[in-house]
Point group: C2
Chain length 136, copies 2
């Protein structure tokens, strides 16, 4: 199986497959006489695993750990759960930051009349760091 077919089958671009090989996330693919990379069912499983992990937002480092655990028959599920938990916490933290920014900005935006006049509390806040007078 060619790299292009493997890419189509797993949803990981050929570009990224080569990249993952280069950083040692996946083992080096076999080669044809002409130097083309070849992939078997096992490789496809691994790539799909990586793809699903990326879809869940795991970093390459985390995926590296998950792959190791996956291939370790004597693994403890607690280890997997710990990685997932850490990732969940990271994502929740990001959401909190986003939420805060959205909140602030929506607040400012609500007080901006948004017409042709130049007066604008959003710019006001960015410029001075102070909220509008008499607000809230």
């Amino acid at each position: 199986m060619n790299i292009g077919e493997a890419a189509d089958a797993t949803g990981v671009t050929a570009k990224m497959i080569r990249h993952y090989e280069q950083i040692g996330l996946i083992r080096e693919a076999g080669r044809t006489g002409a130097g083309y990379r070849t992939y078997g069912p096992k490789d496809l499983s691994t790539l799909s695993f990586i793809r699903r992990s990326r879809d869940l937002g795991f970093s390459i480092a985390q995926i590296r750990d998950l792959l190791t655990l996956w291939q370790d028959r004597a693994r403890a599920s607690g280890d997997v759960k710990r990685i997932a938990g850490a990732h969940i916490d990271e994502m929740k933290q990001k959401m909190r930051l986003l939420q805060e920014m959205v909140h602030t900005l929506e607040h400012l935006s609500a007080h901006c009349h948004g017409d042709d006049r130049p007066d604008c509390p959003i710019l006001e806040q960015l410029a001075t760091g102070k909220a509008e007078d008499g607000c809230c």
Copy 2:
């Protein structure tokens, strides 16, 4: 005022100030005879403006537009509001994605006993793409 003092005063690192100058986000700073950059009150205002914008998650491109509007006395507040609105939408979209991933992962995690046994629905899902049997 030196770049270090400007950095301390605005919370933008000296490194980033030079960077912003290089990409044309801020005008080139004046120089002393020895080549040191010098900053005045106006520059500090701009840097603070940038800093607050970054704190609200605006991209450099958006900040570029905001700065232009800020310096345009004939601006329409609607333009500012539009940029802010677009940014809010982007952030909300990111939050939605994160929320989805957190949800999926928490679900999987809840069904992982997380002890020394190797059986793990998280890895299962990553490997097969299929949810556990009889779940939900």
